[in-house]
């Protein structure tokens, strides 16, 4: 193994000197995993994620990881990482688009088993017709799997969020998986300036005894549920156990809020919050919105921005408060269904002022002009 100095998460995130490098999002994943003290990673190729896990494989070859292999398919990979995590090691994997859907059954089981797995999702269109281009539709499916969801806007976010995801996921009062989502190609294949810490420092190792459930104990939940599943029973105790366990997973995500505030600086990031027109977005739709707001300012129009960094748990209270006085709330998205718009409407008092769009999907770039056109329309 490569010799690295263990430092506190706080030092690595907030104090360690950082160097500016020009790199892709995939390379930012490598830099995060290099410093994350990961024991094991399991991969399966799918564009636009393949390069990330290829680079993690290189880290294994260099001695940064204890174990790395390629699984048979995404379902096998997600099941294997569950096994690794149950065994008490820190584990990482990544997938995207059709790969996410192929592995889907595993995600609620991760959450139900209280496994602190960190998985990166490089989003892409879902078949059919076939597309390898960016589209965030898979996130709509992931919203109710019980896993926590961060959405990275840039390669910098991706680097920071992956490292912080391990620390938040492994808190005893949280201890559920975290998905770090980012838009394929627009982040994974885009070169941008990223500030990273020195490579000779890393996070403290995972302590399996921090788990709130017994590690691989066949007589207790959650593993007991798999050995002797409640589906085989039909009585009040089995219903009540299942129901209370689901609530416990939701409560774990709720308890994570404090850590998201501590490490990510909040579930949302706000600019110019007093503006009449607010744009609420996540991922690279935020980047396109920043350009649109800049263009609007040059025309003398005012608009503010709410960037959602954490989608699960959802920043409902923050959004309710921040949008209360706005006259219009514009929600640009890189998908057809408008799942973020639905989420936002579900927490707002006056949903009539929400503009569900622009929406761009199937892999297209969202021209900032489309968002600017909405700002203009709302300013009239």
């Amino acid at each position: 193994m490569i010799d690295q100095r263990v430092v506190t998460p706080e030092y690595l995130f907030f104090e360690a000197p950082r160097e500016k490098r020009f790199m892709t999002g995939s390379e930012a994943v490598r830099e995060a995993i290099k410093r994350a003290n990961v024991d094991m990673a399991i991969s399966y190729p799918i564009t636009p994620q393949s390069e990330s896990m290829h680079l993690v494989g290189d880290l294994y070859a260099e001695g940064y990881l204890r174990e790395y292999f390629r699984g048979e398919n995404e379902f096998a990979v997600m099941s294997a990482v569950a096994g690794a995590s149950m065994g008490g090691v820190r584990v990482f994997t990544a997938t995207g688009g059709p790969g996410t859907l192929r592995a889907f059954e595993a995600f609620p089981t991760w959450a139900g088993a209280r496994l602190p797995i960190v998985c990166a999702f490089m989003t892409r269109g879902v078949n059919s017709p076939l597309s390898i281009q960016p589209d965030t539709i898979e996130m709509a499916f992931m919203l109710n799997t019980g896993i926590m969801m961060f959405h990275a806007e840039t390669a910098q976010d991706l680097y920071d969020m992956i490292l912080k995801a391990f620390v938040i996921a492994e808190k005893t009062d949280v201890h559920i998986p975290v998905g770090v989502f980012t838009d394929g190609f627009f982040v994974t294949h885009t070169r941008d300036t990223v500030e990273i810490a020195a490579e000779d420092i890393k996070l403290p190792p995972y302590n399996p005894y921090c788990a709130p459930v017994p590690v691989m104990d066949m007589e207790n939940v959650p593993v007991r549920q798999m050995r002797d599943p409640f589906v085989m029973k039909s009585n009040f105790i089995s219903y009540a156990t299942h129901a209370s366990w689901q609530q416990e997973i939701m409560a774990a995500a709720e308890r994570a809020r404090n850590y998201v505030v501590k490490y990510l600086g909040g579930l949302v990031e706000v600019e110019n919050e007093d503006a009449d027109i607010l744009i609420v977005a996540s991922g690279t739709a935020v980047s396109q919105s920043r350009e649109a707001i800049g263009m609007a300012r040059r025309e003398g129009l005012d608009a503010g921005l709410i960037k959602i960094k954490c989608l699960r748990p959802f920043p409902g209270e923050e959004i309710r408060k921040l949008t209360r006085n706005a006259t219009a709330v514009i929600v640009p998205e890189f998908n057809r269904v408008g799942w973020l718009c639905q989420e936002i409407k579900s927490v707002m008092e006056d949903t009539g002022k929400v503009i569900g769009g622009p929406r761009v999907f199937g892999g297209m770039t969202m021209p900032p002009d489309l968002i600017l056109a909405e700002i203009r329309r709302c300013s009239r």
């Binding site: 390379e27 390069e51 390898i132 294949h189 885009t190 070169r191 396109q288 900032p368």
Partner: protein
């Protein structure tokens, strides 16, 4: 020239548009400018359309994805225009007023009257550079076409210096740290195998860039 310079490089898979964009973007960041670079392609295929985009600005760049409104369009192969191997139709779609076109061809292509009229309306300037020819003559390999095209760009703009391009090139081909896709890595290996040493690769390609820089010819519309 432009406050923000957005460049679209249209070429064919295997010609190195992604690598050229990488080297140009890295050179810009070396000079303290902000730059983002991204490719656009389908499932990878040699000779299929491939594009890459470079954004360079003295201010922070947020925008991502395809460049829809380029100031500069670089055409790496005549087929982009003559066979429509391009993601946009016509090939200069979205070109901004007073934009530049840099085309790899030994002689001017026959553009339609309508296209020329539209380019004239935009006050666009068209430049031709025999990039592939220079690559073969000077470096002995057509794989240097992408760097010859960067030479063409240096010939008509002062976006970045030759020195920064040289340093970025050394970083791109020199360090073992870079990881490209499987196909790109294979092409890198082919390129490296053509030269005895890395220093020779850099030297020859600098020569390619210098030669094409001075070989750019403007085609005057009317």
């Amino acid at each position: 020239m432009f406050k923000k310079t957005f460049i679209r490089m249209s070429g064919l898979g295997g010609q190195g548009v992604v690598t050229a964009a990488h080297i140009l973007g890295a050179a810009a960041t070396r000079e303290g400018l902000d730059s983002t670079v991204n490719p656009f392609f389908g499932a990878e295929k040699r000779l299929a359309p491939a594009e890459s985009y470079v954004r360079i600005s003295s201010e922070r760049i947020f925008e991502r994805g395809e460049v829809l409104d380029p100031n500069i369009i670089m055409i790496y192969h005549p087929h982009v225009i003559t066979l429509g191997k391009c993601y946009t139709m016509p090939f200069f779609d979205g070109l901004q007023p007073e934009g530049l076109l840099i085309i790899n061809s030994e002689k001017p292509l026959e553009l339609g009257d309508e296209e020329l009229a539209r380019l004239a309306d935009l006050k666009a300037r068209i430049f031709y550079v025999p990039a592939s020819q220079i690559a073969v003559e000077v470096a002995g390999t057509e794989l240097s076409t992408n760097l010859a095209m960067l030479g063409g760009l240096l010939g008509v703009t002062d976006l970045v210096s030759m020195e920064s391009i040289k340093e970025s090139m050394a970083e791109r081909f020199g360090g073992g740290k870079f990881v490209a896709s499987g196909t790109t890595a294979a092409l890198d290996d082919v390129l490296k195998s053509k030269f005895a040493k890395l220093s020779q690769l850099i030297e020859k390609n600098v020569e390619v860039i210098e030669k094409s820089r001075s070989s750019v010819q403007e085609y005057l519309i009317n």
